[in-house]
């Protein structure tokens, strides 16, 4: 029972009063950072790093990890209330979360997000505790063809995000794919579609695009629709602020789905947490008994992506702690923090620094409870924000959006882009083009293109490499199936109709 001994030792470390304190500080900061768009966990950890030089490594990593997974908890708040995604991982939450808020179920949506985060977050840590070494070697089997197939699977979800017209959904997706190709190409070091603007050489930031087409577009469309200066319905009474038993029951499958999907994708160093929430949402809708209600505010549509992005945190720590490989920006800074404290992150970390490894793992169980306790009581408070009349609420949304876009890189250029994307999103809403596929393409397009070009360089141009491995072949087959299903459905409907008319 190595794991049990390790975990007991870890709790002994994590339950020391100072470490408990740092765990709380990290979770609190993480929640705040998650709520503020534009300020991400990576930037926060980098800013706080000099303050931790003198700290004990176990306490330090416990706090920094708290910021990391705490930010995922907080990210859903602005998504649900204001349609402003606080982090890239919470963009999917906007779709059904904000729809729930508009239906007067803001409180329950926030509550479900917190509960799903807790359940899946805990699952992620449990899986990290029990499965870390074997799962890490599974992750290493993923090469470029597998990543390409994974991204294709994600992009195939456009079918589920596009609403009535698949053609419009695909056009929106392709626009997103094009937008993500703007900037410097990694392979040739050449600029693409920058139109002589040196600000575009680094590409556009996800936060700017997503806030533009979601939040700004929504405000513009509401004003234009003569939103009748009415307030969003916020029912009184504590019972209406917490999720009902029926809503929680509807999320049963979403909790499991989010937990498992999030962890598996989180383990892959090249995937990123946005895709795990997209895929969890897609699975949820594909297996739902009432897929037509998605997008109009179903609780599962909040629980699945929120669960996935929190389980993803546990998964992302697997390659970091067992192999010394950071999967993303935030984990890369945590790695350099470990080095600065004199801990040697790598394959030997688990055996050489058990205090750090097991202390961190144990603290995350505690941190998830802390986050639930921090977040649930805040639900009624946050839900009150929507009581503001629209002539106050809309300027608040615009203000937060502008500050968020400026906060990304401290450039006014991004604010201009934000306005541009707001107008684009507004036009799309008016012409009844869905905006979610655009974001899907923007988030996954870059990784997909990269994986395809890496694969073809490896095989010297032979496309067969994409289907040679069983993992990639299976995922590509699933992607094709998802894309074809609606066509089959339509064909079937037409056939049934023809038979009926004939008979």
């Amino acid at each position: 029972m190595d794991v049990l001994n390790g975990l007991l030792h870890g709790f002994a470390v994590a339950l020391q009063p100072t470490n408990l304190f740092w765990c709380f500080v990290g979770c609190f900061l993480g929640t705040v950072v998650g709520i503020l768009p534009g300020l991400g966990p990576a930037a926060t950890i980098a800013l706080l790093l000099p303050l931790t030089f003198k700290m004990d490594p176990a306490g330090g990593i416990i706090m920094l990890a708290g910021i990391y997974y705490g930010a995922k908890y907080g990210g859903s708040t602005t998504s649900i209330l204001l349609n402003i995604p606080g982090e890239s991982s919470s963009v999917v939450t906007c779709i059904d979360g904000h729809a729930m808020a508009k239906n007067g179920r803001a409180g329950p949506a926030l509550g479900i997000a917190a509960i799903a985060s807790f359940v899946a977050g805990t699952f992620g840590i449990l899986a990290l505790t029990l499965l870390a070494p074997p799962v890490a070697s599974f992750a290493l089997q993923f090469s470029s063809p597998e990543y390409f197939a994974l991204m294709c699977l994600g992009l195939a979800l456009v079918v589920l995000l596009s609403g009535p017209s698949l053609i419009k959904g695909l056009m929106s997706l392709f626009l997103g794919l094009w937008l993500t190709s703007i900037g410097t190409d990694l392979f040739s070091a050449q600029a693409r579609f920058v139109f002589g603007q040196s600000e575009l050489l680094g590409g556009m930031d996800f936060v700017v695009v997503a806030i533009g087409v979601f939040a700004i577009a929504e405000v513009l469309a509401s004003i234009d629709g003569g939103e009748k200066a009415r307030m969003l319905p916020v029912p009184k009474g504590v019972r209406n602020l917490l999720p009902s038993w029926e809503e929680l029951k509807a999320c049963r499958f979403a909790f499991i789905n989010g937990s498992v999907t999030g962890f598996i994708i989180g383990v892959l160093p090249g995937a990123g947490s946005a895709i795990s929430s997209f895929i969890a949402y897609g699975i949820e809708k594909a297996f739902s008994k009432h897929p037509e209600k998605f997008g109009h505010g179903v609780p599962e549509g909040v629980a699945a992506p929120e669960g996935a992005n929190n389980s993803d945190s546990g998964g992302a720590l697997v390659p970091l702690l067992t192999l010394g490989i950071p999967g993303g920006g935030t984990t890369a800074i945590m790695l350099s923090a470990l080095v600065l404290w004199g801990v040697r992150p790598g394959p030997l970390l688990m055996t050489e620094s058990p205090d750090v490894f097991w202390g961190l793992v144990a603290s995350m169980y505690i941190g998830n409870v802390v986050l639930l306790i921090l977040n649930l009581p805040m639900v009624p408070v946050f839900a009150q924000i929507l009581r503001m009349p629209v002539h106050v609420l809309f300027p608040v949304i615009l203000g937060i959006s502008l500050v968020g876009a400026y906060g990304v890189g401290g450039r006014l250029f991004d604010v201009g882009l934000l306005v541009g994307f707001g107008l684009l999103g507004y036009t799309m809403v008016k012409l009844k083009y869905p905006t979610a596929p655009l974001i899907l393409g923007f988030v996954l397009g870059d990784a997909m293109e990269r994986a395809l070009r890496q694969s073809l360089t490896m095989s010297q141009g032979d496309l067969g490499i994409l289907v040679r491995g069983w993992i990639s072949a299976t995922m590509l087959a699933c992607a094709v199936l998802i894309l074809l299903l609606p066509l089959l459905g339509r064909f079937n409907k037409a056939r049934v109709q023809a038979i009926a008319e004939g008979g």
């Binding site: 990576a42 930037a43 950890i45 980098a46 800013l47 790093l49 000099p50 030089f53 992750a139 290493l140 089997q141 993923f142 090469s143 470029s144 900037g183 410097t184 990694l186 392979f187 040739s188 070091a189 050449q190 600029a191 920058v194 002589g196 603007q197 040196s198 600000e199 575009l200 050489l201 680094g202 590409g203 160093p269 090249g270 390659p319 192999l323 010394g324 490989i325 950071p326 993303g328 920006g329 935030t330 984990t331 890369a332 800074i333 350099s336 080095v339 040697r344 992150p345 790598g346 394959p347 030997l348 890189g409 401290g410 450039r411 990269r450 070009r453 890496q454 360089t457 490896m458 010297q460």
Partner: protein, 325 residues
């Protein structure tokens, strides 16, 4: 007569200025902005924050040196920002090779490293050529022979085609006639994962990234990209010692001021960073990160950069990259 004398006088003044940096008249009275081209947590951000922390702790400057992140477009955003601060004695930046390379291949990157005011070069970063511990390649020569026998079949993982990994590969391929693939990955983690998973055969990596993998028995170093052997790797030959006489490609880090900074301010910063380079904290940082700390002053830095840009341009042309300047 006066006209003929003036270059000599100028030279004399220059010698005097560099000989007595302590007499610099510039003294900062407000916060200094220290521009970094990477986001928080990137290699160059960590490097700059280390410098600013030492200046703070050792009280080497009367004011704060505040790190400011200007990420985007390689170093383009940061270089543009520096250009917008022309003549400002309170704006300095931490440069790396990318500041030289970007303007060479990108039309839109108009602000070149030469336009800035060179202050000092602080370090040169060596690198290791590593393979999996159970790889059949025990030496670089074995790898090159295998690549000759199977043209285009073997693979390296690395960053963009402007990276040093690819430059070294190009030089080796030109020298030996062997040919193998270069697979670009955006992050260091993905490059390591590609080698650990056996999807590529070899990579060039910073010693600090590889040292734990080597200690943990996952990687084996077969050569080092450096002028001389690193203290941490006394048994690993340099590329030259391994039998391949290609020019060493230094990966450098240093400090420049905003364009048109006054010589007094340049002298002040040169002196400030020289003091930093003498502190025990800085020496410990260099040892921990396996860096070569060779302090190059402003007067030598300028001709070095012009020279080095020429070398890089030739190498880039050899790689088939589109060189625009």
């Amino acid at each position: 007569m006066i006209i003929r004398l003036s270059p000599a006088l100028a030279a004399l003044a220059l010698v005097a200025a560099s000989a007595f940096p302590a007499h610099a008249q510039f003294k900062p009275t407000k916060q200094i902005e220290f521009v970094v081209h990477g986001g928080p947590g990137s290699g160059n951000d960590v490097f700059a924050r280390q410098l600013s922390t030492i200046i703070d702790q050792e009280k080497l400057a009367p004011v704060r040196v505040q790190v400011v992140n200007k990420p985007g477009g390689g170093a383009t955003t940061a270089a543009n920002y520096m250009a917008s601060k022309k003549g400002d004695p309170y704006t300095i930046a931490c440069f790396t090779n990318i500041w030289l390379l970007n303007p060479l291949v990108q039309k839109a990157a108009v602000n070149r490293l030469q336009d800035m005011s060179p202050i000092a070069r602080l370090v040169v970063e060596p690198a290791l050529v590593v393979v999996l511990a159970d790889s059949p390649f025990k030496t670089l020569a074995q790898f090159i022979d295998a690549a000759k026998a199977n043209p285009g079949k073997l693979k390296w993982s690395g960053g963009s085609i402007l990276s040093r990994e690819n430059t070294v590969r190009q030089l080796l391929m030109q020298k030996t006639g062997a040919r193998w693939q270069f697979i670009s990955f955006p992050s260091g983690g993905e490059r390591l994962a590609a080698l650990l998973g056996g999807h590529v055969e070899m990579m060039i990596v910073d010693p600090s990234e590889a040292v734990e993998q080597i200690r943990g028995g996952k990687f084996r170093a077969i050569a080092q990209v450096s002028e001389h052997r690193l203290p941490g790797f006394p048994d690993v030959p340099t590329i030259k010692e391994a039998g391949f006489d290609i020019p060493n490609v230094p990966q450098m880090r240093g400090i420049v001021g905003a364009p048109g900074m006054s010589p007094e301010a340049v002298a002040y910063y040169e002196d400030l960073f020289f003091k930093v380079s003498q502190t025990p904290a800085w020496k410990k940082f260099l040892t921990d990160s396996h860096l070569d700390g060779e302090f190059v002053r402003s007067a030598q830095l300028k001709p070095f950069l012009i020279n080095f840009e020429g070398t890089l341009r030739e190498i880039l042309k050899g790689t088939g990259a589109k060189v625009v300047r």
